[in-house]
């Protein structure tokens, strides 16, 4: 277990260097003058150009620039936004809780629905429920979620008026940011309306973002359960006279969870990718929205720093999944 963890940790270091190198090279391959790109000014005078060139270290050889960049990163310096002049890290910190809240709720929705649906479909293999679930999961996995999000807005917000069209909370409410998660902050704000408003804003985007993970989890759970239900140890469990529910959950699902968790880990990257689209559709003030805007504003510092942070996040999540995998699977532990 510890060796496994140590090996994974050791693998993270070269991947991290690779990620930063890739980001560094990509930014340097942007057409146009790097100073203009970095400073965000066009047609500046040669004196100012030379000044910035030296200031930004762009007169150094490329390898030295990369080392300097690494050094900055290790000190936690991700550069400043060309547009707002705010540090990238500070901006990320303001936008990230919104994304985390959305993604966590989406994942919760996907797991809370996908796991039991997959289990039920496997237990009642060949039933109408099973075929219905297969159909739904194929549809869900192919869903262009930006379209799905707009359709959901059209149906549930515009036509039925059940949920708000966009944003995180009604403008009426001011919630003192404490954790950055509106659901939590508004819960403590004594204003019941604020919490309800935050929840109503969150539901639709969370469902939309959770659709693809839901389809994937349900499908994976079903096939893992089908495999596990045919195993000898499930027969042993039934031979003990255990109740069917206990056989399915304690004996079968416990084993089926091992492959499902792997898929779940892979979903986190997809979830962050999907967050970009969902946040754009719902004007959700999160990291995805921030990054798309940075592209439109040609704010490459933000794009570089934000992408790097998300990559690091994905690496950490993958590490967490590896640990969870080891916890779930006793054969890996020893």
């Amino acid at each position: 277990m510890f060796r496994l963890l140590a090996r994974r940790l050791a693998l993270i270091v070269p991947t991290f260097i690779g990620v930063t190198l890739l980001g560094f090279l990509l930014i340097h391959s942007i057409p146009g003058d790097p100073v203009e790109v970095r400073v965000g000014e066009r047609g500046i005078s040669p004196e100012r150009l030379a000044y910035f060139r030296h200031e930004l270290g762009l007169d150094q050889p490329l390898w030295k620039q990369f080392l300097d960049y690494q050094g900055q990163l290790l000190q936690g310096d991700l550069g400043r936004s060309v547009v707002t002049q705010e540090s990238v890290w500070t901006e990320f910190k303001t936008f990230f809780p919104a994304t985390l809240e959305l993604a966590a709720c989406a994942l919760l929705f996907a797991v809370a629905l996908g796991l039991p649906l997959g289990v039920m479909a496997a237990v009642r293999r060949g039933s109408a429920l099973d075929y219905g679930l297969i159909g739904l999961s194929v549809t869900g996995a192919s869903m262009p979620i930006f379209w799905w999000g707009l359709m959901a807005v059209l149906i549930f917000s515009v036509a039925l008026g059940w949920t708000p069209v966009s944003g995180r909370i009604d403008d009426l409410y001011y919630v003192e940011p404490w954790s950055g998660f509106l659901l939590i902050d508004s819960w403590w704000s004594d204003d019941a309306g604020a919490f309800r408003s935050a929840l109503r804003h969150l539901i639709l985007p969370a469902i939309v973002l959770g659709t693809i993970p839901l389809a994937t989890i349900a499908r994976m759970t079903r096939s893992a359960m089908l495999e596990v239900l045919g195993e000898d140890y499930v027969r042993t469990a039934r031979a003990k006279g255990l109740a069917p529910g206990r056989v399915v959950v304690v004996h079968a699902l416990r084993n089926a969870l091992i492959p499902v968790v792997t898929v779940l880990g892979l979903q986190v990257g997809a979830l962050l990718g999907g967050a970009i689209l969902t946040e754009t559709v719902f004007a959700w003030p999160g990291v995805g929205h921030w990054l798309v805007e940075s592209v439109q504003r040609r704010d490459y510092n933000v794009l570089q720093g934000g992408t790097l942070l998300i990559a690091v996040l994905v690496m950490l999540v993958n590490l967490g999944v590896d640990v969870l995998y080891g916890v779930l699977n006793p054969r890996l532990r020893h």
Partner: protein, 326 residues
């Protein structure tokens, strides 16, 4: 005295394939019954049907399946579960895949007791240790925390046996309990089963394809072939005077009986499958004494020489078919 397990005319079909056909079975308390047959003869399927462990694709029909005189076949699932694992327990062929890889073996044994409230919660741990010791697992205190993949096949099978006897069952069904084990530990596990049976006065149904195992353990033997019972009689007379040509052929294939012969006799051909079931006697295509009558009419199970035998020409004490056309 009522029989422990009573099965009348049990049939199991998977689609068009008849895995078990018209099997009768009677186990008295404290008795050892061996069910013998080649793989595919339906011996495991019939026992799984009695336990209610067949997959849903298996269709089970019987005139009567009763445990201690109480109907099992039509019992509600809940009532059946009260019986299974407590009064009537089963040990399977593959110990390593039959134990759940995600839980320590001690936990799995304890679960059987908890499910049937077989012991007060506080005593369960001690009982598990005692059980593991009883089935010959060394250092039970440590081993109970081990996962199946950390133990050998032999130890896993002992853990399986401990799990099966955890609730003091009156009947233990062991399905090829030694087949998957190394030859060196087979005897140990077999001796354990027989020893436990004697100590606790359990009924034991031992399913095997190994006549050697039968010789060491059985009081009564039932020989199955292609889903039917071919012969049934107590062990000693069966080994002395098999009445069915199939039993005779099985015994001839035992190495210890083949001494002096240039090569071990085998039974030519294979067990009929779904597509090639003969209309007459199922064993006819492989039988030394096959006649046109055998192909035309399927024999019934009948009494002959004190045994029950499904043959038109049961063998006499000299091993010759009786009533055989000249």
């Amino acid at each position: 005295m009522t029989a422990l397990l009573e099965v009348c005319n049990l049939s199991v079909a998977f689609g068009p394939f008849h895995a078990v056909e018209g099997v009768d079975l009677l186990v008295a308390p404290g008795e050892v019954l061996c069910v013998v047959g080649e793989s595919g003869s339906g011996k495991s399927v019939s026992m799984l049907a009695v336990m209610g462990l067949l997959p849903r694709t298996g269709r089970v029909a019987a005139d009567r399946v009763a445990f201690r005189g109480a109907d099992v076949l039509h019992a509600t699932p809940r009532n059946r579960r009260r019986l299974i694992g407590r009064e009537m327990a089963m040990v399977f062929q593959e110990p390593t895949t039959s134990l759940n890889p995600c839980y320590p073996i001690g936990w799995q044994i304890a679960e059987a007791m908890r499910a049937h409230h077989a012991a007060p919660r506080a005593e369960i741990r001690g009982r598990v240790v005692a059980l593991l010791g009883q089935v010959g697992v060394p250092a039970p205190e440590q081993r109970m925390r081990a996962f199946p993949h950390q133990l050998s096949g032999g130890l896993n099978q002992r853990a399986m046996i401990a799990m099966a006897i955890a609730c003091n069952p009156a009947l233990l069904i062991a399905d090829e309990p030694t087949t998957a084990l190394d030859v060196t530990v087979q005897k140990g596990v077999l001796d354990l089963l027989v020893g436990l049976q004697r100590e606790r006065g359990m009924g034991l149904v031992l399913i095997t394809h190994d006549m050697g195992v039968v010789a060491e353990t059985a009081q009564r033997v039932q020989v199955m072939y292609a889903g039917q019972v071919m012969e049934e009689q107590p062990a000693a007379p069966l080994f002395a005077h098999p009445r069915h040509p199939y039993t005779a052929a099985l015994l001839d294939a035992l190495p210890e009986r083949a001494e002096g012969k240039p090569r071990l006799p085998t039974i030519p051909g294979v067990v009929p499958g779904a597509g090639d079931r003969p209309a007459g006697c199922l064993f006819a295509p492989r039988c030394r004494f096959r006649t046109p009558h055998c192909d035309a009419e399927r024999p019934a199970l009948r009494k002959a020489f004190g045994a029950r035998v499904r043959c038109h020409y049961p063998l006499d004490d000299a091993g010759q078919p009786t009533g055989y056309p000249a």
